[in-house]
Amino acid sequence: MATNVSPLQSEPVIGPNQTYGSVTDKIANICLGKQAPPVFWYIGLLTGLALMGGLGHGALWLFLNGVGVWGLNIPVGWGFAIINFVWWIGIGHAGTLISAILLLFRQDWRTSINRFAEAMTLFAVSCAGLFPLLHVGRPWLAFWLMPYPNTMNVWPQFRSPLVWDVFAVSTYATVSALFWYTGLIPDLATMRDRATGKVAKTIYGIFALGWRGSARHWERYEIAYLMLAGLSTPLVVSVHTVVSFDFAVSVIPGWHATLFPPYFVAGAIYSGFAMVLTLAIPVRYFWGLEDFITMRHIDAMAKVTLATGLVVFYGYMMEVFFGWYSQNEYEQFMILNRMSGPYAPMYWMLIFCNGLTPQLLWFKKVRFNIPFLFVISLIVNVGMWLERFVIVVTSLHRDFLPSSWDMYYPTFWDWIIYIGSIGQFLVFFFLFLRFVPMIAIFEVKHLVPLSKKA
């Protein structure tokens, strides 16, 4: 075995003095309640629950009154629902990239952040899925989105990327869930064996599917995991490509751009890594996991954020240049309107958040300054939301016919549902932190030989 001699990897992937036993103890004790959850956990869960109540309230009001309670109208027929949908779907991408692509590339720093990044993917996709369901107005008829032989002889329009979205997102959710769950099985068995309470033992036991850790189990597990990684890899690209087609296959200036697919995918990974940072930084601090999520992980994630952020910024520059170069009056107007029209402050905030802020990550000092990095990750999250707002709203609010020009203002119901979806995410995530091993115990054990003895 060649030892790693690269000077790029000076920071360790695991803290000092870790043994097989200490790894299991540390992570399992969190789930079994032997390490009491920090106060932060209670605050987070309660905040999430409160916000989620808002979501329920907003959804109920929406179903009673119809989508008219949102700020949507012609010409802006697509508002918060699509913005939030794309934002959440994008966030999910980091989990898939970390678990699938970095696994295939044999990057050892993926271990220890993959589990909760994948959990983040699932919860983000569940939040994303809310919005199209709410937007159809009558979610109990949402199954009409699926093509199936029916007595009405109605079929979805297969040329519409919205239908491709249904397939892409449902595949994504299914494969992500399978991947996450398969990876959990050995750890769930560990929990089953360590649990002392009868209830915990039974529940973990059911979900562990009779895992005994025999050589044959491991062999089949490794094959299954690798195959799921292979299946997930195209999903990293395909899902957000299809999302970008929702816009790009139309002829709306600001949407119809051939660069959209790679630019959306990069934006998704960018926002996803920012979200992993946003989550990982407090988690490692409050649960004392600095030995598992080391500066090496933080640094690597910050670098991926920078690289993908640069691709996103390149996309903005290309939009401006080719808007002018096209010499198409609608394209040119769209760019000028973004920069100086009624939504110009949103555009410039976007440039600040996604264009300028990530440039700080060029500096090692910034990447190693945890509080600063946390703030940057939040700014990026806001920036990626603004990006979708700018794309959706500025393109629509100036229709081809000036007589249809109008403004879009989100209503209270738009906001409460959006913020409520963040609440739902928090609730799922905090429950996960408490009851599911947030770090892959058996994978981190592979790294134990690298742990320095002091």
């Binding site: 087609f245 051939t258 660069l259 790679p262 096209s326």
Partner: protein, 403 residues
């Protein structure tokens, strides 16, 4: 240290010398054909020259790109072939010289340079960017930037051979980060200038990425060929392993997929939008015999190489992998031909159809011969791998070197 002396002179391998000779012969034949082609049909010659030129430029730029990607990622797959990339990057200066014919034939190749072009209001609107002076300044700027980066990166790397990998490695990494950013921008604008503006009405925002991915693809295929050619030369006989070829094969597959992904995205978006500004570009390629080339690209530039590269076996058998790489190098020519020729010849004497000519291949041979000659010259002058890379020591010791 006789061993060290041997390593330091490893560039003198007979394989490299033979490539240089072959490049010279190929270049001689190609240039003779170019002269004949120029006399037979000068318009066609310059059109073919643009294709042949862009082909070899892509490999130079791709090599420069891989050099920097390797410095930043430091994967084990990169160090045995680093000198191949560095030598490829140093051919930029040759390519700067070979750009002159394109400038000379500008008013034929680029309709916006032609007399009376400004009567077209769209071209007139772009005149702030598309004008001969700014176009030439930009070309000069690209070459200074690329050539400068190639010089800094390669000379620092050669210095490592005598001074050790660090701290010079820090300089290489610090250059490569911003360097790749500058590459992305310059490759985008040069692709716009030299390959998009041959149809001054048409535009596509993915064009820069498509070219960047194609450059890296071409350079990777070329690297695999050279690695296979040199696999028995010390120290590459120890440094190049089955794993190296496997990794390079994976990258070849990844960029084949990326090419297909971007090409298809561009097509789908333009086809679906179906606007008067964009659709004609594809209409030209879906008719008049060009449809055959379009289908060939889908099948042979993507489906077949992708399927073949999907298996582990292909990537781990260097003699199979090299055949795929040669095939991809051929397909790169067809793709570039397809990207440019339909537009260039649309208003020629034969009309918009697919009318291949023997002249089309002449500049590709001529420029290619010169390129290979110059490339081998660079490769000969230095050791075939970075001498002080710790992985080289590991490779030499691991297999019981030092007899």
């Amino acid at each position: 240290m006789a061993d060290h002396q041997e390593l330091a002179n490893s560039g003198q391998a007979p394989e490299v010398a033979s490539l240089q000779t072959r490049g010279m012969i190929l270049g001689g034949i190609g240039l003779a054909l170019c002269a004949a082609g120029y006399m037979a049909d000068s318009a066609r010659f310059f059109e073919a020259y643009l294709v042949g030129y862009l082909y070899w430029l892509a490999i130079s730029l791709g090599c420069l790109g891989w050099t920097m990607i390797h410095h930043l990622t430091d994967g084990n797959w990169g160090f045995p072939v680093r000198r191949v990339w560095e030598s490829g990057a140093r051919t930029i200066w040759l390519m700067a010289l070979l750009f002159i014919p394109i400038l000379l034939a500008g008013d034929h190749l680029f309709p916006w340079m032609a007399e009376g072009a400004l009567e077209d209001h769209i071209i007139a609107g772009k005149a702030g960017y598309l004008n001969t002076t700014f176009f030439s300044i930009r070309a000069l700027l690209y070459f200074v930037i690329w050539g400068g980066m190639a010089l800094i990166l390669t000379s620092t790397s050669y210095k490592q051979d005598s001074e050790g990998p660090e701290p010079l490695g820090v300089r290489l990494r610090l250059t490569s980060g911003p360097g790749l950013l500058i590459m992305a921008i310059t490759v985008t604008f040069s692709a716009t200038d030299w390959a998009m503006s041959i149809d001054p009405h048409w535009f596509s925002t993915i064009w820069g990425f498509l070219f960047a991915a194609s450059d890296l693809l071409a350079a990777m295929a070329f690297t695999i060929c050279i690695a296979k050619m040199l696999e028995h030369c010390p120290p590459l006989n120890k440094a190049l392993t089955t794993d190296t070829f496997h990794d390079l094969g994976n990258l070849l597959m990844a960029f084949t997929m990326l090419w297909a992904y971007m090409s298809f995205s561009q097509f789908l978006i333009i086809w679906s939008g179906n606007t008067q500004e964009e659709a004609p570009w594809y209409l030209l390629r879906m008719d008049n015999g060009w449809i055959i080339i379009s289908v060939i690209l889908i099948v042979f530039h993507f489906m077949i190489p992708f399927t073949v590269l999907l298996t582990r076996k292909t990537k781990r058998a260097a003699n199979v992998l090299v055949k795929v790489a040669i095939f991809m190098l051929m397909m790169r020519f067809i793709d570039l031909y397809w990207l440019t020729m339909p537009t260039l010849t649309a208003h020629g004497e034969h009309g918009a159809g697919f009318h291949p000519s023997w002249i089309d291949i002449a500049p590709w041979l001529g420029v290619g011969g010169l390129w290979l000659f110059f490339f081998s010259m660079q490769l000969r002058e230095r050791p075939l791998t970075p001498l002080t890379d710790p992985r080289l020591q590991q490779a030499l010791e691991g297999t019981g070197g030092h007899h």
